[in-house]
C-alpha cells in the first residue's frame, strides 16, 4: 500500500533534483499565476465598466426630457451583460460575442463591444487565459515530466533492480501515476486560487468545484496517455514524438478539422445574407410609421367598427400608436423567427463541433469549462433573448402610451404646429416603464447537467486509456 507512495516520492525527488525540471515547473506555475492575475484584473475592469455603463445608460434614458414616445423608441437604450464570476478563469466566447446590445424599435441589433475587436487582439490570436493555459500548455509540461517515468527505468536498467525487490509491475505503474497525479495537483493550485477569487465574487461553489474537477479529469487523461506512451515505447525520442503528435492532433488539428467539417455539414447563411432576407419579409409586413399602409387596413377597419365611428380622428385611441404596436409585434415575430433559426443553427454547429470531443479531449474540456463558467454560446443566446424581451417590453410600452395618451390630430399636425407638437410630448416620468436589465445566467444544476455530457467524453478517454495501460503493465518486463 505504501510502495506506490514511495515510488511517487522518489519520482518527485528526481524532479526536485533536476534543475531543468524545476525551472520548467516554476515557469509554468509563474505563467499560470500571471495569466490568472491578468485575466482576473481584465475581467474585473470589464465588469466594473459594464456595470457603470449600465448605470449611465439607465440614467441617460430616464433623464430624457418630455418627448414624443416614438422618439424615445428610436432614442433607444443600451443593455450590458457583466462577465460571469468564473470568466476570470475561462472567458469562453465572451471576447467574440460582445457584451452590450443597443435596444431600439423595429430592430434587433447584434451584441457589440467584443474585446476580440480591440486592437491588441487583432493579431489573430486570442488572449492567454488560465483555461487556455490548462488546456494547451500544462499538458506539454506533463509530457516533459512524464514521458520517461517508466521508460527511464527501462533505459537506465533500474527496472530489473526494482522488480527484483519483489515489486509488482502494477505497483510500479501505480506509483509513477501517483507522481503524475501529485504534479497535476500542484499545477491545479493556481486554478484553485482563481476559483476562490471567483467564489468571493459570487460564483457558485458547486460549479467552481466542478470546474476544478473537470480540469483534473482532463489532465488525468493526459497523465494516462503519457503513462501509456512511457509503458509501450522503447526510446524516449519515440515516446516524446508520439506524445507531441497527440498534443498537436488533440489541441490544434482535430478542433480545426471539426470546425471545417461542421461548416460543410451545417452551412449557415452569412449575417448580411440573412439580414437581406429578413428585410424583405419586414418590408412585406408594412411600415408601422404609416397608419395608412395597406398592411394595416384591417386594424383600421376593426377599430372603427369596434368603436362605431366613421373616422380615425373620432377613435378614443391614437391609431398611429395602435398600428405601431401591431407593427412592432409583427416585426418582432419575423425577427425572432430569423434569430431563432440562426441560434438553432449555431447550437447545431456548436454541438457538432463538440461531438469531436470523442476524438479530442481538449474539445470536450473546453465545452465543459465554458458551460460551467457561463461563457458559452447558450449563455450568449440567453443574453440575446433576455435583451430582446426587454426591448419588446419597453418599445411596446411606449407604443401603448402613444396610442392612449396622444391625440391622433395632434400627432398628424405636430410637424407644422408647435402647440400640437408640444401636446404630443409625454411626461418624462413615463420613461420609468423601462425595467432594469439584470442578466441571469443558467442555474448551477443546469450548467452541471449540460457539462456532464462532456464529462462522459473525458471519462471514456480515461477509462479507455486505463485499460490499455493495464494491458501494457502486464507485459512490462525488463
Amino acid at each position: 500500500m505504501m510502495n506506490p507512495l514511495r515510488i511517487a516520492a522518489d519520482e518527485w525527488r528526481l524532479w526536485y533534483r533536476s534543475r531543468l525540471a524545476m525551472v520548467g515547473l516554476a515557469a509554468v506555475i509563474g505563467l499560470l499565476a500571471g495569466t490568472a492575475t491578468i485575466t482576473a484584473l481584465r475581467v474585473h475592469t470589464e465588469s466594473k465598466d459594464r456595470t457603470e455603463g449600465q448605470v449611465q445608460a439607465d440614467e441617460h434614458f430616464l433623464t430624457q426630457p418630455d418627448r414624443h414616445p416614438h422618439r424615445m423608441i428610436h432614442y433607444g437604450h443600451y443593455v450590458f451583460r457583466t462577465p460571469a464570476p468564473l470568466a476570470i478563469f475561462d472567458p469562453g466566447i465572451d471576447a467574440l460575442t460582445g457584451d452590450a446590445i443597443f435596444l431600439e424599435g423595429h430592430r434587433q441589433n447584434s451584441a457589440t463591444f467584443a474585446s476580440a475587436q480591440a486592437s491588441t487582439n487583432l493579431g489573430g490570436f486570442g488572449a492567454l487565459t488560465p483555461a487556455l493555459m490548462y488546456q494547451l500548455f500544462v499538458p506539454l509540461l506533463l509530457i516533459a515530466f512524464g514521458h520517461s517515468v517508466i521508460l527511464r527505468e527501462r533505459e537506465l536498467g533500474t527496472l530489473p533492480t526494482l522488480l527484483a525487490q519483489g515489486l509488482s509491475t502494477s505497483t510500479l505503474v501505480a506509483g509513477k501515476m501517483l507522481a503524475l497525479v501529485g504534479l497535476i495537483t500542484l499545477l491545479l493550485l493556481p486554478a484553485l486560487l482563481v476559483l476562490f477569487f471567483a467564489l468571493a465574487n459570487g460564483a457558485s461553489a458547486i460549479v467552481s468545484l466542478t470546474v476544478v474537477l473537470s480540469y483534473a479529469l482532463y489532465l488525468l487523461v493526459w497523465a494516462a496517455i503519457i503513462m501509456l506512451a512511457s509503458l509501450t515505447s522503447r526510446h524516449r525520442s519515440w515516446a516524446l514524438g508520439v506524445l507531441l503528435g497527440i498534443w498537436f492532433s488533440w489541441t490544434l488539428l482535430i478542433p480545426r478539422l471539426g470546425a471545417t467539417i461542421t461548416r460543410l455539414r451545417i452551412p449557415t447563411a452569412g449575417k448580411i445574407e440573412m439580414d437581406l432576407l429578413m428585410q424583405e419579409d419586414i418590408r412585406r409586413a408594412g411600415d408601422g410609421h404609416n397608419a395608412t399602409d395597406p398592411a394595416f387596413v384591417n386594424i383600421r377597419t376593426e377599430l372603427l367598427a369596434q368603436h362605431n365611428v366613421e373616422r380615425v380622428e373620432d377613435l378614443p385611441v391614437n391609431i398611429r400608436g395602435v398600428v405601431a404596436e401591431a407593427s412592432e409585434a409583427a416585426l418582432t415575430t419575423i425577427m425572432n423567427r430569423y434569430a431563432n433559426t440562426r441560434m438553432r443553427l449555431e447550437v447545431s454547429q456548436a454541438k457538432a463541433v463538440t461531438s469531436f470531443g470523442w476524438l479530442s479531449p481538449p474539445l470536450a474540456l473546453s465545452a465543459a469549462s465554458q458551460t460551467l463558467a457561463g461563457t458559452d454560446l447558450a449563455t450568449h443566446h440567453r443574453f440575446l433573448r433576455e435583451a430582446e424581451k426587454l426591448r419588446l417590453d419597453f418599445v411596446q410600452g411606449l407604443n401603448r402610451i402613444h396610442a392612449q395618451q396622444l391625440r391622433y390630430q395632434d400627432d398628424i399636425d405636430r410637424s407644422r404646429n408647435t402647440e400640437a407638437e408640444k401636446r404630443t410630448r409625454v411626461s418624462a416620468e413615463s420613461w420609468s416603464l423601462l425595467k432594469k436589465f439584470s442578466f441571469s445566467r443558467a442555474q448551477a444544476n443546469d450548467r452541471i447537467s449540460v457539462a456532464f455530457r462532456y464529462w462522459m467524453m473525458l471519462i471514456a478517454w480515461v477509462a479507455g486509456i486505463a485499460v490499455a495501460c493495464g494491458l501494457a503493465t502486464r507485459r512490462l518486463a525488463p
Binding site: N3, R6, S18, G157, L159, A164, G166
Partner: protein, 245 residues
C-alpha cells in the same frame, strides 16, 4: 507442475528451455543448487548464463521445463520467489540521482525491509565503500563503487538466496578478494549463492560446484572435494575446449 523437492534444494532448473526472438537460448538445462552452496555458472559470451538467472527471477518465462526456487515454481509464485532472492545484475543499475545511502534505503523499503541508516553504513563499509562516499550521489561514482553499493543491497536484503551476475565486474583485485570472502561467509551462514561468471580462476576459488554452459546447454559440472577447491586447470581446459569448439 510443482515437483516435490528435497528441503535441501534451494534452486532447481528442470529441462529448462528458453527461446528469445526465435533463438534457443537455453535448452534442456537441468541442475540443482543445494542450500548453503555456492554454485557458479561458467561459460563464454552467449552461453545462456544471465538468461538462467533471469529465468529464476521470473523475468523470462521458460518456453519449456520449469525453474523452482525453494520448491516454488517461479512462473506461478513470481512475487514470493523474488522476495526470497537478492539479485546483483551484471550492469550495476542503481539510481544516479540518489546517494548510496538513499539508493539502499529506497530499494530496501520497496522490498519491505526497514533498515536504519547505521545498518546501511555498516553494509557499505563491509563492501569497502569509503565512508565519505556514502552520502554522495552515484553520478560521481566509478563503476566499481557502484558495484559495491549493489553488493551491499544484496547483502542487506538478507534473503536466503543470492543471484550474482558477474559480481567481480569492475572491481579491483583487493575488492575481488574481499567479495570472494564475503560470498564464502554468506554460504557459511547457510545462504545459497548462484553466480554467473566467465572468470574461471575466481569461480574455482569460491564455488562448491561449477556448471559449464555452452550454447544454452550444460556441458560439464565440477565439484569441490572436501577441503580442496575445484582444480582450476581442469575447468580451464574444459572451458577452452567448449568455447573453441
Amino acid at each position: 507442475m510443482n515437483t516435490p523437492l528435497s528441503t535441501d534444494i534451494a534452486l532447481e532448473a528442470k529441462q529448462l528451455m528458453v527461446v528469445r526472438s526465435g533463438q534457443v537460448v537455453l535448452q534442456q538445462l537441468s541442475f540443482v543448487v543445494e542450500k548453503g552452496q555456492i554454485f557458479a555458472l561458467l561459460g563464454g559470451n552467449g552461453a545462456g548464463k544471465s538468461t538462467t538467472l533471469l529465468t529464476f527471477l521470473g523475468f523470462l518465462p521458460p518456453t519449456a521445463g520449469a525453474a523452482y526456487v525453494q520448491g516454488l515454481n517461479v512462473e506461478q509464485h513470481t512475487r514470493e520467489v523474488r522476495q526470497a532472492i537478492a539479485y546483483l545484475p551484471e550492469a550495476t543499475t542503481l539510481y544516479t540521482h540518489l546517494s548510496a545511502q538513499e539508493n539502499l534505503s529506497y530499494l530496501l523499503t520497496l522490498a519491505g525491509r526497514q533498515i536504519d541508516r547505521a545498518a546501511i553504513d555498516k553494509a557499505l563499509d563491509t563492501v569497502g565503500l569509503p565512508t565519505r562516499a556514502h552520502a554522495q550521489r552515484l553520478d560521481a561514482y566509478s563503476k566499481g563503487m557502484r558495484q559495491k553499493v549493489a553488493i551491499a543491497l544484496a547483502l542487506l536484503r538478507e534473503t536466503p538466496i543470492l543471484l550474482l551476475d558477474e559480481p567481480t565486474s569492475g572491481l579491483d583485485p583487493v575488492a575481488i578478494d574481499e567479495l570472494n570472502t564475503l560470498v564464502q561467509n554468506l554460504a557459511a551462514e547457510g545462504r545459497t549463492v548462484l553466480m554467473v561468471t566467465h572468470d574461471v580462476y575466481g569461480a574455482c576459488q569460491v564455488a562448491d560446484r561449477i556448471a559449464l554452459l555452452h550454447n544454452g546447454s550444460l556441458v560439464g559440472t565440477f565439484s569441490a572435494s572436501k577441503g580442496a577447491p575445484i582444480d582450476t586447470n581442469t575447468v580451464h581446459t574444459a572451458f577452452k575446449e567448449q568455447t573453441v569448439r
